[in-house]
């Protein structure tokens, strides 16, 4: 009995020892900075020494800050690519799932943009969108369309970035859909065939409900990722675009914090972003739980 309790004490000791690094990492690099940032959002923190409490002044300023409104609007606008990407990814996954040969090759081709460096991809597309000799406009010219100077035009810069992000993320969503489709039991479709269901009915009543958890997962992770979009903007439109038409929240946070040293003000924006992501994640947890209950 005594050895058993000794063994247990030793096990406890090693258990804590082994989880110590990630716990410390969490405290030092996540929890502490997050709380500090929250505190900083109520101050006039300038990163050089001043950090006086100013109450809600930063948040009040945010409400009136037109550049912040633009950044917020742009960030949500860019998320319009999510449903487009979903539809295309599902279509491709359905095709691949049915395909009899070449599945691996197609899967690899579609996945290459996903693993490619975002900086390199942004550079590539920046040039592809060039008004005079970019690939996109040369392609449009085949159909007799004269394309705009995509990234310099405030009306086309966001659609241009959306097209690029859909292109880059398509392989990932498609892969997840494909995995989900492969787990749908064949017998469901066979039963539907016996009932005389057509392809569209099968898609609506079997496939779509069966892949719904994946759809949900992609939507949530895309919203979380999309709300933090930065690299594309920083490389393709280094100033945030004509009339700030492509600046996003993180881009603005970055400019304010490390360009203007308005750390307190930037922290308030970061807090708004953090709250948004927190809510989205909570909704995911809640809905995930309720969908588990249905199974």
């Amino acid at each position: 009995m005594k050895t058993k309790s000794n063994l247990y004490r030793k096990e406890k000791y090693y258990g804590y020892l082994f989880i110590l690094p990630p716990v410390l990492g969490f405290l030092i690099f996540a929890l502490f900075p997050a709380l500090y940032s929250l505190w900083g959002s109520f101050t006039d923190w300038d990163g050089l020494g001043r950090m006086d409490f100013i109450g809600l002044a930063n948040y009040k300023e945010l409400l009136a800050d037109e550049q912040f409104h633009k950044a917020l609007f742009n960030t949500f606008y860019l998320m319009l690519g999510i449903p487009v990407g979903l539809a295309l990814a599902l279509m491709l996954a359905l095709s691949l799932n049915r395909g009899k040969f070449g599945t691996t090759t197609f899967r690899v081709i579609y996945y290459v943009p996903v693993i490619s460096s975002l900086a390199a991809i942004s550079i590539l597309w920046q040039w592809a969108y060039n008004g005079d000799y970019g690939l996109v406009n040369q392609f449009l010219e085949i159909f007799g369309i004269e394309g705009p100077n995509w990234l310099a035009n405030k009306h086309t810069v966001k659609p241009a970035i959306i097209i690029m992000t859909v292109w880059k993320g398509l392989g990932y969503s498609m892969l997840l859909y494909l995995a989900a489709l492969q787990s749908v039991p064949r017998s469901y479709y066979e039963a539907a065939d016996l009932d005389g269901a057509n392809a569209l009915q099968k898609l609506r009543h079997i496939t779509w409900p069966m892949v719904q958890p994946v759809t949900f997962f992609i939507v949530v992770t895309s919203i979380i990722g999309g709300s933090q979009i930065f690299t594309e903007i920083n490389i393709m439109t280094p100033t945030g675009g004509t009339e700030y038409s492509s600046a996003t929240v993180v881009f603005y946070v970055w400019q304010k914090a490390f360009g203007n040293l308005q750390m307190g003000y930037a922290s308030a924006m970061a807090a708004v972003l953090g709250l948004f992501i927190f809510v989205v994640t909570l909704i995911q947890f809640k809905l995930d739980k309720s969908s588990d209950n249905h199974d």
């Binding site: 258990g15 990630p22 900075p33 490619s116 390199a120 550079i123 994946v214 933090q228 970055w254």
Partner: protein, 281 residues
């Protein structure tokens, strides 16, 4: 019979057309990038565009090493990615082992607490982190990119824990009673069991670090300190004015190539572990 069969063949052909068009759209920009890097500067502006360079020039792949700190950028990226993934994988897998196979009070709560950190986005912590590292005098060094990762990666802990949950406890319990040390149990029993899962997670993590842009741009100012992604972004900013696109594309290809090769070699494992993350996620 023949009616439905004909319909089936028709549908198959249609599907392949869709897949092919999709594949062309996915791969064409990348091919264009590659062929551009072999062109002469003036040929880039040819109308209609030349898909095959005429003539093929390979000079740009020589020039890129002289026009900026590209080699230094590669070295810096390798230093960051290798040190973080090797040590971080060790700490992560030890923690996953403890969370799944060792008994100690409060472990489920601690694990949930760690998972909560997934809700904290990097932009929400980057400002205080920057101030911390600047107090330590580490701005413009690689340390701010390395140190946090050494403490482990919550995603990796999560997936390895899941994976270990399906490994029977019996062997581990037997080893415990035999008096094997816990580190010994980990290295001789657990680690070999989860090696495939670790490998896939490590590759994905490595790719994430290799392609990271936001953290490096915050911390690194001097050209010789920058990671590869920043170096090519600077090439882009500098040489676009001189319209030296072949040079920019050649440098970008260099930045892209290592991960592409890793992906092509391990595509099966990578694709499988990504697919699992969605289904279980």
């Amino acid at each position: 019979m023949s009616e439905t069969k004909r319909k089936g063949i028709f549908a198959d052909i249609l599907i392949y057309i869709v897949l092919l068009i999709g594949a062309v759209f996915m791969i064409a920009p990348l091919i264009w990038m590659l062929t551009t890097s072999f062109k002469e500067r003036e040929d880039v502006f040819a109308l209609p565009p030349e898909w095959i360079p005429d003539p093929w020039v390979f000079e740009k792949y020589v020039e890129i090493w002289e026009k900026g700190p590209l080699l230094q950028g590669i070295t810096n990226s390798v230093i960051v990615a290798v040190s973080v993934t090797i040590i971080g994988t060790l700490t992560s897998s030890l923690a996953a082992f403890a969370f799944s196979k060792l008994r100690f009070p409060g472990k489920d709560y601690i694990f949930l607490g760690l998972l909560a950190s997934l809700m904290i986005p990097y932009p929400a912590v980057m400002i205080p982190q920057f101030m911390m590292f600047s107090k330590a005098g580490w701005v413009d060094t690689l340390l701010p990119l390395i140190i946090p990762g050494l403490f482990g990666n919550i995603f990796m802990i999560f997936f390895l824990r899941q994976y270990l949950m399906s490994v029977p406890n019996a062997i581990i319990e037997a080893a415990k009673i035999d008096g094997a040390s816990y580190f010994g149990i980990f290295t001789s029993i657990t680690f070999p069991l989860i090696k495939p899962a670790i490998a896939a997670q490590l590759i994905l993590w490595f790719m994430g670090i290799w392609n990271d842009y936001l953290a490096p741009i915050i911390y690194l100012n001097s050209p010789e300190k920058q990671t590869l992604q920043l170096v090519i972004a600077n090439y882009n900013a500098t040489y676009a004015i001189q319209t030296d696109y072949p040079l920019i594309m050649a440098a970008s290809i260099i930045a892209l190539l290592p991960m592409l090769i890793v992906f092509l070699i391990f595509q099966k494992q990578i694709i499988e572990s990504v697919a699992i993350s969605g289904v279980k996620g």
